[in-house]
């Protein structure tokens, strides 16, 4: 159990998907103009990462690997299957949420379809494969990674809301400043990198 908590904290803060690996940067920069929308997208990412990670783990272990039911090494199909799972899960989640919880659906709004092309989702699944996690660990990694991404996008959105009132050079306004800010936040998060959780 402590192991799973470790993986959660590690993926959320020490190996933050957004600020240490810079994954999902396109939507990270495009949707971080206000805290409200950033909050919605962050929630949707936690949701989708938490669901697709275990599914992709099952596919990778039972279908694609040599020890799976097909008995042959199909790992070259990994990319196609992973992205198909992500695209269809996003579609499915959208339909289910729309049916059973219209309020959550309204909160997430247009962000659900955007998530298909968020590289944090596919990147998370690929990292999970290369780190050789088991089932429970992959769930923890998915939720932790999603939470880390959520924290990062809400934080940058809050900073960008404030910076609107500052005297930034015209050519640097908007996008350029967002890059600089993300770089500074990345520097700050690098301070967490050396932490060894096992030593606590």
């Amino acid at each position: 159990m402590a192991d799973l908590a470790n993986i959660f904290i590690k993926s959320a803060f020490i190996e933050n998907l957004a600020l240490s690996y810079f994954l999902g940067m396109c939507s990270f920069l495009a949707v971080s103009k206000s805290v409200k929308t950033a909050f919605g997208l962050g929630l949707a990412v936690i949701f989708v990462l938490g669901i697709t990670m275990p599914i992709n783990w099952c596919i990778n272990t039972y279908l694609l690997s040599e020890t799976g039911i097909l008995g042959q090494d199909f790992t070259f199909l990994r990319l196609i299957l992973f992205i198909a799972v992500i695209a269809s899960m996003v579609q499915l989640v959208e339909m289910v949420v729309e049916k059973f919880s219209p309020s959550l659906y309204n909160a997430l709004g247009i962000f659900l379809p955007l998530i298909t092309v968020n590289c944090a989702i596919l990147g998370g699944s690929l990292f999970m494969v290369s780190k050789e996690y088991n089932f429970a660990e992959s769930v923890s990694f998915g939720l932790g990674g999603g939470f880390g991404w959520f924290v990062a996008i809400v934080a940058i959105a809050a900073i960008r809301e404030k910076i609107k009132y500052s005297a930034v050079p015209p050519a640097l306004r908007g996008l350029g400043m967002a890059f600089m800010l993300t770089g500074l936040m990345g520097l700050a998060f690098m301070g967490l990198m050396g932490i060894d959780l096992a030593s606590f």
Partner: protein, 232 residues
């Protein structure tokens, strides 16, 4: 008679006039995928630590971008609207798998270096964005040119960022030492280069510096091309 019209049509389909040239050159400056459209940032940050890595990545993206545009554009009339995202993703994923296998076969160390980022070309928003915005509505040849143009526009920024980061971070470019001292300097101090005083700055190799370099590039690009400055 019928033959001549057929030839004329073929020429029209593959013509290379002003419009086609604009498709190629527009993404290089006014409509650059990275500095203006903000697409495909993730891989731009991760693979630009070394010049060679960025070069391989750019070639891969140009290839995927061009051919996925071509294929999507050829199929555009027969793709149902509701499932077009999944169809596009499958086309891209197929091309990326091809790139991955070619790299694995012919350049294994490079494949190891790029690790998950080759796979992440699938979710590179440039490819998807061009398919959605251009290839679904235009003829194959034009879509192909648009794909090449956007791939090259992306590649150029990638190479500039990688060159800056490698020169100042490692003192070399493409593995070739330019500034700072080589390891031989420790043995024989007379082999010092002209720029031997430079001490490579390790921060440039780390992720955050990519952000600063691209931010600076955007600043320079907008200061030079005034119409891109956004007021919001």
């Amino acid at each position: 008679m019928a033959e001549t019209t057929a030839v004329a049509q073929k020429e029209a389909a593959f013509s290379f006039g002003k419009k086609e040239r604009k498709l190629l050159t527009d993404p290089l400056n006014d409509n650059n995928p990275i500095t203006v459209q903000v697409l495909g940032i993730c891989s731009a940050l991760a693979v630009t630590t070394l010049f060679n890595k960025a070069l391989v990545m750019s070639i891969a993206v140009v290839f995927v971008c061009a051919f996925s545009s071509l294929i999507t554009s050829m199929l555009r009339t027969s793709i149902p609207k509701q499932v077009r995202m999944i169809v596009q993703l499958v086309i891209i994923a197929f091309l990326v798998t091809v790139v991955e296998m070619v790299l694995k076969a012919f350049a294994y160390p490079m494949y190891k270096d790029l690790s998950v980022f080759i796979g992440l070309i699938i979710t590179n928003c440039i490819v998807m964005g061009r398919l959605e915005a251009f290839a679904m509505a235009n003829a194959p040849w034009k879509s192909f040119l648009d794909g090449v143009g956007n791939g090259v526009g992306y590649g150029i920024i990638l190479l500039i960022v990688a060159a800056i980061r490698e020169i100042f971070g490692k003192g070399s470019i493409g593995g070739f030492k330019i500034i700072g001292n080589t390891e031989e300097f420790l043995i024989n101090t007379e082999t010092s280069t002209i720029f031997g005083w430079y001490e490579p700055n390790n921060l440039m190799v780390l992720f955050p510096s990519a952000m600063f370099v691209i931010g600076g590039l955007i600043w320079a690009h907008r200061a030079w091309n005034k119409k891109l400055v956004d007021i919001s």
